[in-house]
């Protein structure tokens, strides 16, 4: 099962990185979200995998490691805040720059007319 878990994390990382490397903002946001899933799962697994163990004191003698859980819990919430920030930034960028390319301008291959006016309004 460890192998399965590790490969799941690996697949999430791969897919996340691939999406992060795309040229438009929305896939990058999706990639970041997926990457943060992978990071959370990875951090969580540093407490080792424990099936059906107690999470609350007094119910068992064996407990799952609470420390990574506490760390990941806040990581999830902050990860959401960051995703939100990036996606709003993307919207703002699209509105201000007229395109949703990650560099704020589309490389000039076939889009000459509307995207070369890369005036950045702040």
């Amino acid at each position: 099962m460890e192998l399965l878990y590790a490969s799941s994390v690996g697949v999430l990382v791969s897919c996340g990185v691939f999406l992060i490397l795309r040229s438009r903002t929305f896939p990058v946001v999706l990639g970041l979200t997926m990457f943060s899933y992978a990071v959370n799962l990875f951090l969580f697994s540093s407490g080792r995998l424990s099936l059906n163990q107690a999470a609350v004191l007094g119910t068992s003698t064996e407990y799952a490691d609470p420390l990574p859980q506490a760390l990941v819990l806040t990581a999830i919430v902050i990860g959401f805040a960051m995703t939100a920030f990036v996606v709003i930034l993307a919207i703002r960028g699209r509105t201000d720059l007229g395109n949703d390319h990650v560099d704020g301008q589309v490389p000039d291959k076939n889009n000459h007319n509307n995207d070369n006016n890369n005036k950045v309004k702040v």
């Binding site: 999430l12 959401f80 805040a81 939100a84 920030f85």
Partner: protein
């Protein structure tokens, strides 16, 4: 305690004087002077104790773990400098009142001057070398501000930048030296360092340490070859030059030599480096000074030369040389400050400082001329003036050293030559400016300066005379106690007096004076000779090397940073791939000793769904809605994984966050294109696949290697103490609100900041609402589904109840502030979806910004609360109470903290979504748009 007040008062003065913009000039000056005068009185009250050999100390522990304290000490040397800094500072402030024109901002100059004064006082009084360094840098910064006081002039800006670069660079070397020194001794305390001479000098790193510290001292004191910043710093207003660039800041370098003299001096390397640097600077400065046509330029090079003299004295291997050095520090400060002030008057009254134009000023300003002539005579070393005495001592000491073996006679000869040049440039200062015919087209008609502008010069010149005629009465105590501090307890017998009989030093003086006068009369030949020399232009060298450096950096930056985010990311991922992957190849075996758990069918299915979801997200990434839906599958499977692996808190959090994220991304899609165009070439796609697959494999391998090894965790502590120490059985929650409560406080702050950032980003957003979706279909007209509206409304109280329950049980069962906050937020978001933000805005008037702020405030105040019980920040308290009918319940302060977390999470989440959501709610252009409270 009094000790701390001396720099503190001056800092206070800086703040006070910066606020005197509305007052008259006299009021502003008076207020500013109040603080240094008080500090001076305090110093005087401390002086008798210091003279009797006592060292006054005052220490406040700050970071004891790093050996950094706020520590001040006042010994003889420090006392001497404190006097100099305060007295000359007071005179300069007084002088500046008359110097500044009505266009110049007086509070600004005063505030900077007082800040500088604080920094100088800090340097000389520090008993901790790191603290000393801090003040050292503060002098560089305040000097930068002062030089660039007339910021509209290019030369002022350039001079300021050059001074900052050179002295700042020296400051870095000094920091390295001081860190090494602290490492060698094992303490940053100055008392201990000064007492550890043998340890330091026997250490292997002694030479490196010494050179680094000397670099700091030499750059600050404008020693050759770092001297060239000082003439350019003369672009500062003249009071600043008088204070910083003659009397105090440049003396910080020689102060450093004196300060560390007991610990670092006495070795051959010290003598060679210090004395040769000093000698070169002495000669070079004196030579160049003669050829400067600018009055301040002459004084600047003369200052460089005198600083070289002092440095040379510290480098001579006799005890008396150090005494002479200290004496000359005092004398140079008095006559050079008065000369600068006199120059300021001349500049102020005539509009120029060019000696080729200034002639015959004697007729126009006889008082100033007299004062300047006395001071210049002191600079030349004419008898009856203080400069003569220390120069005499200097000549005597050059005769007593054996630095250069059989060639040691060279030093007195060169010293005499430098003395002759000093006489020559002093003569030029007097003769060229005050006599020598008539002025040549001056910008202004010269006249005598205002009465009180001359007062500071008069005081200093009287000092020059008094010290020069009756040195024993004035200077003995302070010179002895300062020498006592520099020589580490042993002071040789010496007597400063006017007349020592006919001896070799007197002859050297006589040669210097007559040679100098001869040189001045024959100056035409010298000027011709100098003009034929190739010019050694330090500024050009500096500018060239700086621009070469910046150009080189620019080229490097341009090659690396081409503005493409994808490229940066690829570079970073490749670096990560390399450094994370490399160790894996050096590992013998990937899997550890921990026995593997068998795979059951549920987990296999879950993993399969997760992977399918992830891959589908990638496959359909151009069709964004589908991609998003696939991503939500992944998120769901992640939260199920948390449930499966015994982490109910995480599962609950992930599930609620998932809901919020998907809603947010859906909303975002409304403003973004629905599809991504096909842009990447096949090569690029291949490359990206390679990188991402590589990273996936590496991370998976690390993950596998990690989870197959046995665990040694610190969690046992939390498990053992959660109930007894934190009063809760849900260890995860106890960690969040109790053990690591400080972290959580930081995290909710981040959450709040992100929400505020989003709020800010969406303000004034020019609306970009597409009328149709990407395929040209208009958006649906039925905005708010009736069914959802009615159900959600009745669902709200229920949802709030659930979240309340989750919150309350959080300390003992899965739940808590984060999860409850998210549940509440989701319940409200459902209302937004069902009714639209205008509908909510009519019913919910509270602003989310206030909610976030109050949440963080509650959490913070809970932490602060423990102070009132004499406990450290965020100590929690809990107790069990037996309440009739309800039973035993537990009350914990952590619960209040959790309320703060809860409120912040609710506020932030709603703010993020509602800010974006309200943009969609705006009616088409013809309908009146409503202001929505966010």
């Amino acid at each position: 305690m009094t000790l701390l007040w001396i720099p503190l008062l001056s800092l206070l003065g800086s703040i006070i004087s910066s606020m005197t913009g509305k007052l008259t000039r006299n009021q502003s000056t008076g207020l500013t002077l109040l603080m240094p005068i008080t500090a001076l009185l305090m110093t005087i009250s401390l002086a008798p104790a210091v003279f009797s050999g006592e060292v006054i100390r005052s220490t406040f522990s700050w970071i004891p773990l790093l050996g950094i304290d706020i520590a001040f000490r006042l010994d003889g040397l420090a006392l001497l400098f404190v006097f100099m800094i305060l007295v000359i500072g007071i005179l300069v402030i007084f002088y500046a009142r008359y110097y500044l024109s009505s266009n110049d901002s007086m509070p600004k100059l005063y505030a900077y001057l007082m800040l500088f004064m604080t920094a100088m006082l800090g340097i000389v009084m520090s008993n901790n070398v790191i603290q000393l360094w801090f003040f050292w840098e503060l002098t560089s910064i305040s000097s930068f501000l002062l030089i660039s006081y007339w910021w509209h002039k290019a030369e002022a800006r350039n001079g300021a930048i050059m001074a900052l670069t050179i002295t700042g660079g020296g400051g870095l070397a000094l920091l390295a030296g001081l860190l090494l020194l602290g490492n060698i001794v094992g303490s940053y305390n100055l008392d201990i360092i000064l007492a550890s001479r043998d340890i330091i000098q026997a250490h292997d790193w002694y030479e490196v340490t010494l050179i680094l510290i000397l670099l700091g001292a030499f750059t600050k004191s404008a020693q050759f070859p770092f001297h060239f910043w000082l003439p350019h710093a003369m672009a500062a207003p003249t009071p600043v030059s008088a204070y910083l660039h003659s009397a105090t800041m440049v003396k910080a370098g020689v102060f450093l030599l004196a300060r560390f003299y007991p610990a670092l001096a006495g070795t051959d390397i010290w003598f060679i480096i210090v004395s040769l640097t000093g000698l070169t600077t002495l000669l070079f400065g004196a030579y160049v000074a003669l050829f400067k046509h600018d009055l301040k330029g002459l004084l600047a090079y003369s200052t460089i030369s005198h600083l070289g003299l002092i440095t040379l004295l510290f480098g001579l291997d006799t005890k008396l040389a150090a005494v002479a050095a200290i004496f000359h520090i005092i004398n140079h400060a008095t006559f050079k400050a008065s000369l600068f002030m006199a120059t300021g008057i001349i500049d102020h009254e005539t509009g120029t400082r060019d000696m080729r134009k200034l002639n015959g000023m004697w007729r126009f300003m006889p008082y100033t001329a007299t004062l300047a002539m006395v001071a210049a005579a002191a600079m030349a070393g004419v008898p009856l003036l203080n400069g003569f005495l220390s120069k005499e001592m200097f000549f005597a000491e050059t005769l007593h050293q054996q630095l250069l073996g059989s060639m040691s006679w060279l030093i007195p000869v060169l010293a005499t030559i430098a003395g002759a040049f000093a006489v020559a440039y002093s003569a030029r200062f007097i003769h060229d400016v005050f006599f020598n015919g008539d002025p040549i087209d001056l910008p202004k008609q010269p006249s005598e300066a205002p009465r009180y502008m001359r007062l500071p010069i008069e005081i200093l010149v009287v000092l020059c005379l008094v010290v020069g005629i009756v040195p024993n009465f004035v200077i003995d105590d302070i010179l002895k106690s300062a020498s006592f501090a520099v020589l580490g307890g042993y002071v040789p017998e010496f007597e400063v007096s006017l007349w020592h009989g006919f001896n070799l030093p007197l002859l050297m003086s006589a040669i210097a004076v007559s040679g100098g006068l001869l040189m001045y009369t024959q100056r035409h030949y010298l000027f011709q000779f100098h003009a034929s020399l190739p010019s050694l232009n330090g500024k050009k060298l500096f500018d060239n090397s700086i621009s070469a450096l910046t150009n080189w950096c620019q080229v490097k930056i341009n090659t690396i940073e081409n503005g493409s985010l994808q490229r940066y990311l690829v570079l970073m991922f490749v670096v990560v791939l390399f450094f994370a992957g490399w160790p894996l190849f050096e590992m013998n075996q990937l899997s550890g000793q921990k026995p593997l758990t068998p795979v059951d069918v549920h987990n296999a299915m879950g993993a399969a769904l997760l992977m399918i979801g992830a891959i589908s997200t990638v496959i359909w990434y151009r069709t964004r809605v589908i991609s998003l839906l696939m991503l939500s599958v992944v998120g769901l499977m992640v939260s199920i994984a948390f449930t499966r692996f015994s982490a109910p808190d995480l599962a609950l959090t992930q599930l609620t966050v998932e809901v919020v994220t998907v809603i947010l991304l859906m909303l975002a899609l409304f403003f973004l294109p629905q599809n991504s165009p096909k842009e990447s070439s096949s090569m690029r796609v291949l490359r990206d696949i390679g990188i991402s697959a590589g990273l996936g494999i590496v991370i998976a391998s690390i993950c596998y290697a990690l989870i197959t090894r046995p665990l040694e965790s610190i969690s046992d502590f939390f498990l053992a103490n959660a109930k007894t120490g934190g009063g809760g059985t849900n260890v995860v929650n106890v960690i969040l609100v109790d053990f690591r409560g400080f972290d959580t406080l930081g995290e909710i702050c981040v959450l709040g900041i992100a929400a505020l950032g989003i709020y800010k980003l969406l303000i004034n957003l020019p609306l970009y609402i597409p009328a149709t979706d990407s395929e040209g279909r208009p958006w649906a007209k039925e905005r708010y589904p009736v069914l959802l509206a009615s159900i959600s409304q009745s669902l709200l109280p229920l949802a709030l109840l659930v979240s309340f329950y989750i919150f309350l049980r959080g300390h003992n069962m899965p739940g808590g502030g984060f999860i409850a906050g998210l549940v509440t937020a989701v319940a409200f978001i459902l209302q937004y979806i069902a009714h639209g933000s205008n509908w909510i805005a009519e019913r919910l008037t509270i602003k989310y910004r206030k909610i976030i702020a109050s949440g963080i405030a509650i959490a913070l105040l809970t932490g602060v609360g423990s102070w009132f019980f004499g406990r450290p920040f965020m100590t929690t308290w809990f107790e069990y109470f037996d309440i009739p009918f309800i039973g035993e319940i537990e009350l914990a302060s952590a619960l209040v903290f959790d309320i703060g977390v809860y409120i912040t999470v609710v506020g932030s989440t709603l703010m993020i979504l509602a800010s974006l959501g309200k943009l969609t709610a705006n009616e088409p252009a013809n309908a009146p748009s409503k202001e929505v409270n966010i």
